[in-house]
Amino acid sequence: MLRYTARRLLLMSITVIGMVTVVFFLLRAIPGDPASYMLGDYATEESVAALKAELGLDRPVWEQYLGFVKRALTGDLGTSVVTGQPAFDEVLESIPWSAALSVSGIIIAVLAGVPLGVMSAVRHGTFADLFVMLGALIGISFPVFWVGLVCILLLAHEVRLFPALGASSSQDFFTQVHHLMLPALVLGFSVAAYIARLTRSAMLEVLGQDFVRVARAMGVPERRIVYRLALRNALIPVLAVIGVTFAWSLGSAILVEAVFSRPGLGSMILKAVFARDYQLVQAGVFVLASAVVLVNTSLDIVYGWVDPRVSVS
């Protein structure tokens, strides 16, 4: 178990380093640079060149990369050229916003998606099943920003159940939660659709297996069969994709944050890319990649615990 965990951790670090490296070079491959962005359209060539030299952007890319790695190893991810703040601090500030959105989105998705999927499977072919699957189809095929806009229009503008803005400057916990609800529901809906479909098909498959027939032949009550004996089997594939879902929800969160004008890692990275704020993008991607890899690794460990056949050797 210890060796397994150590190997997972090593693999994890390699993934994160790879991600950050790719982003480092991609950023420098796209046209534009922070100096021209900061100085605006009317800057002289000399002043841009001077700022570039100051920022170290005039040196060869590989040299910049080595410098970046050297500093990163000491825990220094550089300074945002736009705000002058340490990039890592900027990222840390936006993490709670993103974490709150993604985590509540996924919790909503699991709490809604798994039971709906199970119900659909148990009553497959009925009207209820059709209804749930239709809803899931909408959740999967309609883009999250469109769903977000419709929700704002209906639930924030017409009915006024929720505020249209996904964030508030208030320190009050309940106000924040109230603002979070609609974006989390929108994000949760699309993930729930995915999880419901997956749970349904996994459950249908499990309910057709021999051991379910055996349990029935032995007089085990149907509710024990479905909610205990079969469900644990059906959750294995679901668990396996929650990690993927998490990565995907962070991606969708960018769109949700944009629609609801909500701060967060996604909208921060987006802004930083437009400003060619290399340091901030790199720090953001570093944190994002670490989060995704960390979640997936912990899920792998939980997976091994739920499915005894997964050997840790």
Partner: protein, 335 residues
């Protein structure tokens, strides 16, 4: 049929809807089973052996449906019981062991957990008490060191051990009837013999009625008291085993018997596979379902036009669905 039968089935019918109309997979099946008796059920693949007993337990997979017949368990008709009353008979009154022990256990629960689920479904036992019971029955099916095995997952056990676990589960509540559906086909030969010996031992110790579904006529001769032969969803012959297959009074049984290797015949005597294909249940002929493959029928008018019923031959313990059974006896002197 014999009074005092622990399980008696009369005219059981199960149909599956299909595009070309309803397919009768269990067609007016009747048999009875006495306490402590072993009834072997034989027949080709697809003849409805498994479906018959799933129908008895009312576990026919949808869209299949039992559409008629009586199932008397200890004298009371259980075909009309409520779903929950039926559930309490499954496992506790009539238990079933299936063909493939590799897929019959839930891979993500320990065997103890699965046994407890069954025991507690039928008794008011708490987890501790149920565990004691589980250990008792594991011991009873000769699983070595049950206290260590009980917390194993199925994949940690061999096929034979898993079948023992399933048998333990099946006898945990002292059922009156144990249905063993090809309990050894998925196991290797040495293990097969051990499992069958175990079943025979349990049957006599617990006084259960046992149904042994099998393809292996050798096993039938060794373990069964009576045999029911199925063809195309019907019972075509039932006879006391003491008579042996040489005395069978249905041409299908004769063909079936001739198609297995035997030690009591000269080695150079050829094995004869049954001619033709097993029938398509959706397109059964109007007459006898075996007629197209029968060495007796040969286009006889009555065989082609009338569906023969299972009726007594020389004794009312030996029934055959062939009206020409006498011809078979004449062909073999000394019958």
């Amino acid at each position: 049929m014999s009074d005092g039968a622990v399980l008696a089935v009369r005219d059981l019918r199960t149909v599956f809807p299909s595009e070309s109309g309803p397919v009768t997979t269990v067609d007016k099946v009747s048999f009875s089973l006495g306490a402590g008796e072993t009834l072997a059920v034989v027949g080709e693949s697809g003849s409805g052996k498994t479906m018959t007993f799933l129908s008895v337990l009312r576990l026919v997979p949808p869209p299949g449906r039992v559409i008629g017949g009586e199932v008397l368990f200890e004298g009371a008709d259980i075909a009309t019981l409520s779903a929950s009353a039926m559930r309490s008979i499954r496992g506790a009154g009539i238990a079933m062991v299936f063909q493939d022990p590799l897929t019959a256990l839930n891979p993500v629960f320990t065997i103890g957990d699965q046994m407890l689920e069954v025991i507690r479904a039928h008794t008011g036992m708490g987890p501790r008490q149920a565990r004691v019971r589980a250990l008792e029955v594991l011991e009873r099916v000769h699983i070595p060191a049950p206290a260590q095995r009980i917390d194993d997952y199925p994949h940690q056990l061999s096929g034979g051990m898993r079948q023992r676990v399933l048998i333990a589960m099946a006898i945990a509540l002292r059922p009156k009837v144990l249905i063993a559906d090809e309990p050894t086909t998925a196991l290797d030969v040495t293990v097969q013999a051990q499992i069958l010996e175990l079943l025979a031992e349990l049957r006599s110790e617990l006084g259960m009625g046992m149904v042994l579904i099998t393809h292996d006529l050798g096993l039938v001769a060794k373990y069964a008291d009576r045999v029911a032969v199925m063809y195309a969803g019907r019972v075509v012959e039932t006879s006391p085993m003491a008579r042996g297959f040489g005395q069978s009074r249905h041409p299908y049984t004769r063909s079936l018997f001739r198609s297995i290797p035997r030690l009591d015949l000269p080695a150079d005597q050829p094995l004869t596979a049954i001619a033709g294909q097993p029938p398509d249940l959706a397109r059964l002929p109007a007459g006898c379902a075996f007629e197209p493959r029968c060495f007796l029928g040969n286009g006889r008018e009555d065989c082609r036009n009338e569906r023969p019923a299972l009726s007594p031959t020389t004794s009312d313990r030996h029934l055959s669905a062939c009206p020409h059974w006498r011809t078979l006896l004449d062909a073999e002197p000394g019958a």
